[in-house]
């Protein structure tokens, strides 16, 4: 579909920023079967990021943007935190409004877009950290699922409040010593994927971002299911290397170490019966890209 809407008037072409020119020339809006392999081979929808060097969140962000099935008609909703430092560099419309209200904003947005564009697909994707999703915004996260709002919620789980300096969050592991949990966190890591299942999500996945094929498949399925069936949830481990005392080259290993059998980020996926039936109807399209097993 449309690069039309981002095309530059020829009269103004030369005064546009080079990044924008590149987006028009080499961006992947409308490309069939776009995915993580476009990263590095075409103009990404994320220009640059202002995260720490080596932050796994940065590669997770790039994968998510590269794997959106319909970026030219996708609107993202963020929240306060490290992710909000990246969104200004992202070439799809995105909203930051307050801390924790992302699923409320997305609910209103999706409904307004469905009403205004009844004959068009407009995907809404929430991307927020664990503090926003599970602590301050939990009410709105769950309520949007109860109401069967048709959008995808992605949580970048770094198991703490990174942007404010490493405070304990609901997704932090029990016993972990952090700011505001000076004697160690007293309760278990909140099991949001399980809660998501019983709260009405039709697709739930928990994983690290060490395996981009897996991330790509999950993002694509989550967005397609949200479009047609109902709410979907993906929880991605994006460790805050700074706050857990890792070097900038150690993020990938930290993710690998956390996703083994019985580890807290062992890959888990849930698909409702309704969503499974729907996925079968779109399966032929998906076969265009062959998956490489990890």
């Amino acid at each position: 579909m449309s690069k039309e809407k981002i095309k530059i008037n020829t009269e103004f072409y030369d005064i546009m920023p080079v990044e924008y020119q590149e987006l028009v020339e080499e961006g992947t809006y409308g490309k069939e079967g776009r995915g993580w392999k476009d990263v590095g081979e075409s103009k990404e929808l994320i220009e640059e990021h202002s995260l720490c060097a080596g932050c796994p969140e940065s590669i997770a962000f790039r994968y998510v943007l590269a794997c959106l099935p319909n970026p030219e008609d996708t609107i993202m909703v963020g929240s306060t935190g490290c992710t909000s430092l990246v969104f200004p560099h992202v070439a799809v419309h995105n909203i930051h409004s307050l801390f924790g209200n992302q699923n409320a904003v997305a609910s209103g947005l999706k409904r307004a877009l469905s009403y205004r564009f009844p004959d068009k697909v407009k995907d809404v994707v929430v991307l927020a950290g664990d503090g926003a999703t599970v602590d301050i915004g939990l009410d709105m996260t769950l309520q949007s699922w109860f109401r069967q709002e048709k959008f995808t919620t992605i949580c970048f789980d770094n198991e703490l409040y990174a942007n404010t300096g490493g405070q304990s969050s609901g997704l932090m592991q029990k016993g972990f010593v952090a700011k505001m949990a000076p004697a160690g966190k007293k309760f278990e890591k909140v099991n949001l994927p399980e809660i998501a299942k019983v709260s009405g999500c039709h697709y739930v996945a928990k994983m690290t971002v060490s395996k981009p094929n897996r991330v790509e498949k999950a993002i694509r399925q989550a967005i397609l299911i949200a479009r047609e069936i109902g709410p979907t949830y993906i929880q991605l481990y994006t460790p805050c290397i700074l706050e857990i005392g890792k070097q900038m080259m150690e993020g990938l290993q930290e993710m690998r170490d956390s996703e083994g059998p019985n580890k807290r980020f062992e890959f888990e996926e849930y698909i409702s019966e309704e969503a499974k039936a729907y996925l079968k109807t779109v399966a032929p399209k998906k076969k265009k890209r062959k998956e490489i097993s990890a």
């Binding site: 809407k5 981002i6 920023p17 990044e19 924008y20 220009e47 640059e48 202002s50 030219e72 008609d73 996708t74 609107i75 909703v77 909000s84 430092l85 969104f87 200004p88 560099h89 992202v90 070439a91 799809v92 419309h93 995105n94 909203i95 409004s97 307050l98 209200n101 409320a104 904003v105 997305a106 609910s107 209103g108 947005l109 999706k110 409904r111 307004a112 877009l113 469905s114 009403y115 205004r116 564009f117 407009k122 009410d139 709105m140 309520q143 109401r147």
Partner: protein
């Protein structure tokens, strides 16, 4: 997309889309005897609202539920009950970011629960119509009329209008959309009424035919990009403005706040035209004035009538817009006044503070009478206060 191109067409309910001025001033109107809640229903029926989100809290619940009926009937595009007011105002923001005309209602503690959203709406230039049916916010729990919450939202940057009667209320709701959505304004608007006194009492209201409706909102007149991916995504911002400790970041933040305040100021010209001025004056050549907003003005008017029977002449200034505040108008209207009474339905006296900040020689302002916590303010209370102060002044003058 021009709203003008819609004029004369019919919407899916068969309502004829008419020029707003025609709806406000020319369309034949009929008398109805109805509550403030019903006024909301009839205004919104004619307002081409795309999205409305509700939450129960007294005294606005009835009106909010009636908007749901309008959705079932097909007059409102999308409607649901949110989970709490903080979330509801976020949901309204999302819908407005997505290019919808949005209406919601709230009251008292709900307003304060939602508070964080209001400056965000302003900074995001979302022209959401918020109807506040104001009530007590104090503890112990009170659901009774009290205007304290208006004073608490004064500096959020929203347009704030205060309706005195059911007729004001009907007109302000419809005219409010038009002013708030002007490209040079494009800000949220709170249309306030005094809970119960206006929401739950019946009053005579002149209303145009239900076969007429306002033009729909054109989101592409927005000074900000609409978040619908129908226009190019704005990006390539090398530095996000948030949390950067540098001069450009501070200057950007500061200038945007100045711009949103300036947008509020720019609403004056549209509001003056549509409301016939930001204030309404009666007998302001008198030396004693009552100046206030909302139902306090109605009570003041009655007090003036009672005092006139005793030969004491009182002028009235009704303030229609709290933001932008009619500084110049109030200065002019009060220039001959020796004593200015400001009756209010709240314990804080925020309206008296506003007036004192607006006029020279502000020792002329008498803050009160005040009632709070749901107490009514019979005209006799105002009469008594005026007589008390006049007697006191006379005594002081005699001694001097």
């Amino acid at each position: 997309m021009e709203s003008n191109s819609q004029i004369g067409t019919y919407n899916k309910k068969g309502q004829k889309i008419v020029d707003p001025d025609y709806l406000f001033y020319e369309a034949p109107r009929e008398h109805f005897f109805m509550t403030g809640s019903e006024v909301v229903r009839e205004a919104i029926r004619r307002a081409s609202v795309d999205v409305s989100i509700s939450y129960p809290i007294t005294p606005q619940s009835e009106a909010a539920a009636m908007v749901g009926d309008l959705w079932v009937e097909g007059y409102v595009g999308e409607y649901f009950r949110g989970e709490n007011e903080f979330a509801v105002m976020g949901e309204c923001a999302g819908a407005s970011f997505g290019g919808a005309r949005v209406f919601t209602t709230t009251s008292g503690p709900g307003t304060l629960r939602a508070y964080e959203n209001f400056p965000m709406w302003v900074g995001s230039r979302l022209p959401i119509m918020l109807n506040m049916m104001v009530r007590g916010v104090n503890s112990p729990l009170s659901i009774q009329p009290d205007t304290l919450e208006i004073g608490l939202i004064i500096d959020t940057g929203m347009l704030i209008w205060h309706a005195e009667s059911a007729q004001d209320f009907f007109d302000y709701l419809l005219k409010g959309f038009i002013v708030a959505e002007q490209p040079d304004v494009h800000l949220p608007i709170a249309v306030c009424i005094d809970g119960f006194f206006v929401s739950h009492t019946k009053d005579d209201v002149l209303i145009p035919s239900a076969d007429l409706a306002l033009p729909t909102y054109n989101p592409y007149k927005n000074p900000m990009p609409v978040m619908d991916m129908e226009v190019p995504p704005v990006r390539m911002m090398r530095d996000p403005f948030v949390m950067k400790s540098n001069y450009i970041s501070y200057a950007t933040q500061a200038s945007w706040q100045q711009e949103t305040r300036a947008a509020c100021e720019r609403s004056r010209k549209h509001t003056i035209r549509l409301l016939g001025g930001l204030i309404e004056e009666e007998n302001t050549d008198e030396e004693i004035l009552i100046v206030s907003s909302g139902t306090a003005v109605a009570q003041g008017r009655e007090a003036a009538r009672l005092l006139a029977e005793e030969g004491i002449k009182i002028g009235i200034v009704k303030i229609k817009t709290i933001r932008p505040f009619p500084y110049e108008e109030v200065r002019q209207a009060t220039k001959n006044a020796k004593i200015i009474f400001v009756p209010e339905f709240n314990v804080a006296g925020w309206m008296a503070r506003e007036i004192k900040a607006a006029i020279p020689d502000n020792q002329r302002v008498v803050e009160g009478p005040h009632v709070a916590g749901g107490m009514t303010m019979p005209p006799e209370v105002i009469v008594e206060e005026i007589k008390r102060v006049l007697a006191q002044r006379k005594e002081t003058t005699t001694h001097v």
